[in-house]
Symmetry: C2
Subunit: 296 residues, 2 copies
């Protein structure tokens, strides 16, 4: 990729900060300007050398940048894109890191209008259990999958610039339609989060919750780790990806009903067969993957 | 506890082997005799110094022992207890490590008959992702919860001997009724395993399973780790604890229906409230717990 003169990061947290640090280390950017509605985050980012300049507004940050990375909670995306759209140069490129893509594309079309062709929707599959720019690091995206979901209207050079940036910092880029992205992540991320939230909230509401949890072992702990994720973020993801998530929930409910019937009937071979299919499939997952986070 | 002259371990695997090693290190036992239907496991256990003597049968191992630890798959429990019952001394004590307790107690009552008062049902909440005596270690139970579920007919001195043995090797012993045990572990262990098996088996059956799993992140990985557990073991646990597990499944299904309705209605505050309850509860779990295993 060509070296960027200025990267603008809107939302200077774990993801935005790590992206800036990694691009800088890769020698792919000269200057980084940041904006965050939390001024202390910007101050910290400046002190840590993650950003060179703290802007006073989204517009100020985006103005003059070659690439604008929007790394804010999905519910803030519309307002941010509106300000970015009116302030960027004609040749600049915008991308985001949101966990759902269909809704983001609809929002971007509305808010960016004639600049919509410069927007490349993105989703890096990386994160940590910590958040904030203080946790940012230049290795966060090394080996991580990054999904880009350009529209037919998206400019090819914009897609290539964003792809190049992710690849420069170790990302493994895949391109798919927004609907396909949302279907895939409903299955492998949004549904599991919902299932974990449902289990723990059900147990937590019981009178003997403390006793129950006192006997929870490592298996329970791993299974429910994602239930400690940000409720605000997952509320938004669940509602933004509602259609795909409801479909996944219904498929899952049907499978759970199959398991229930096998147990009820005492069908040992049937139960073992399904469990075996699960184990074989689970074991095929490559080991050593980075532990996940609310940001997936 | 008084020092044991001879411990008999029936089933020389991870749990049985670790129990023997830990008791020996604690100076709580003089000799260990082992029996396993897999003769190579016994040979390895002898080479590793986990057992002193390899017996040719369950009866031979149990004969003359002060304490008999039954650490075999639950489906083998009946046959093992039958042989133990006819061969042990009158004052000897028997215990087990099975993950379900109601069914084990019923089996023990049938098989041990007049020796039933000497049987102390037990369940150590410990394990690893590995199995076999080669993975055994004397620290496995340090800090682990151990549940004992004696019957009204169980001799008090037998309970105290088993409690003393677990405490000597670092276990934190709790006593409860078998039905209570099965209810608690249906909720915090058996149900989560079933939910994970159901999720992975459903995804695995799809045509695009490989693509889906290729985008799975660390959250999915943790959530589904328990789906790589032994299908034989979990098939047996699910069927042995059928009543409690079906009740938990139905409670869970009801909670999932609540989540589904909130998403369907777009009820953001309701969704966030439940997710918050889950997060608060999940965060109350003590950190640093040992990672779990199929043996929980």
């Amino acid at each position: 990729m060509r070296r960027l003169k200025t990267l603008a990061v809107i939302g200077v947290g774990l993801i935005g900060g790590s992206f800036a640090m990694a691009l800088r280390r890769a020698g792919a950017v000269t200057g980084v300007v940041g904006y965050d509605r939390d001024s202390s985050a910007m101050q910290l980012a400046t002190e840590l050398g993650v950003i060179d300049t703290a802007a006073d507004s989204v517009s100020e940050a985006a103005s003059g940048a070659d690439l604008v990375l929007v790394a804010v909670p999905v519910r803030a995306t519309a307002a941010v894109l509106r300000d970015v759209g009116i302030s960027i140069d004609a040749g600049a490129v915008i991308t985001d890191v949101g966990s759902t893509k269909g809704e983001v594309v609809r929002t971007a079309r509305n808010e960016l209008r004639e600049r919509f062709a410069r927007f490349v929707p993105g989703h890096p599959i990386a994160g940590r259990e910590t958040s904030g720019v203080e946790s940012a690091n230049a290795d966060l995206f090394r080996g991580a999958r990054v999904v880009l979901t350009p529209d037919e209207a998206t400019a090819a050079d914009a897609v290539e610039l964003v792809r190049g940036a992710w690849e420069a910092i170790g990302g493994r880029v895949a391109v798919m339609a927004p609907e396909e992205h949302d279907r895939v992540f409903a299955a492998v991320s949004h549904l599991p989060h919902l299932l974990a939230f449902a289990l723990v909230s059900e147990l937590a509401a019981r009178e003997d919750a403390a006793e129950l949890l006192g006997f929870a072992g490592g298996g329970f702990r791993d299974f429910t780790r994602i239930a400690a994720s940000s409720p605000e973020m997952w509320r938004d993801i669940a509602l933004q990806n509602r259609a795909a998530l409801l479909e996944e929930l219904d498929r899952y409910g049907a499978q759970l009903a199959v398991f229930r019937a096998l147990i009820d009937k005492g069908d040992a071979p049937g139960l073992e067969r399904l469990m075996n299919e699960a184990r074989t499939s689970r074991e095929s997952l490559k080991p050593g993957m980075r532990r996940g986070s609310p940001l997936e």
